[in-house]
């Protein structure tokens, strides 16, 4: 489902349809996280991506629309090189991933991951945690500053 939704996002001519397909792609990715027994990440993904970023994207789509459909590059030189490059990338990566002998460790029985993640975030990963919160603060202030209406042309 994730790949089907991703394909609709990339290839659709209607940008609103792409935005809604992105919703299904995010749900698909959250389902994959649940399959990988990453429960906290799955719920975080739903909250942050679907509830936050997707809402922002739909805001952006609706506020910058003058016509309903936005076309892909129609027939000019751009589509075919991009198609060749991305198909080559996908093919080579998939071939590599398919044929290597991955060193897998035995699968652990996974209990709830949230307490362990909390311990790690406040233990080994304390510095990135604090830096990430500063980044979020700066991003918040910056986004509010950039997007406000300019009253006069300066």
């Amino acid at each position: 489902m994730t790949l089907a939704a991703g394909s609709v996002v990339v290839f659709s001519r209607n940008i609103v349809r792409s935005a809604f397909a992105l919703l299904f792609a995010f749900f698909g990715v959250a389902g994959l996280y649940v399959l990988l027994l990453a429960d906290f990440i799955a719920v975080t993904q739903l909250l942050v991506y679907v509830g936050g970023i997707l809402v922002l994207v739909i805001f952006g789509v609706m506020l910058t629309q003058r016509q309903v459909s936005v076309d892909i590059k129609t027939g000019t030189l751009q589509v075919w090189p991009a198609l060749i490059v991305t198909a080559a990338l996908a093919g080579s990566l998939s071939a590599i991933f398919y044929s290597t002998e991955w060193k897998t460790s035995p699968l652990v029985d996974q209990t709830a991951t949230a307490p362990k993640l909390g311990e790690m975030l406040l233990g080994d990963y304390l510095l990135p945690f604090e830096v990430a919160s500063v980044v979020l603060l700066v991003a918040l202030i910056g986004a509010a500053l950039i997007a406000r209406r300019e009253k006069k042309a300066s």
Partner: protein, 110 residues
Amino acid sequence: MSDFVLWLQNPGLSHFLVLSAILFSLGLFAILTRRNAIMVLMGIELILNAANINFVAFSRYAAATLDGQVVAIFVIILAAAEAAIALAIVLNIYQNFNTVNVDDLNKLRD
């Protein structure tokens, strides 16, 4: 061919990796081909999600710890911050130039 069918029937690490590789290249195609700035943003989000799947899959199958999930949390945080700023910039561009077509934004060029 029967190797492939056998591979399809036993889900493991490489399935998640192949899926994330295909999702990555779909996002890359969106960035390379689309003219609307918001479509480029959607491609970026797809790429970040693909990388996240990679991290979490490795954390589950190839390591007994949860390091990959911690990195995935940080990637989600940074993706949220970057999407907010990028959309603020796009809205500002739309207010000033009245277009979000990335081909038309060439004021810095001679």
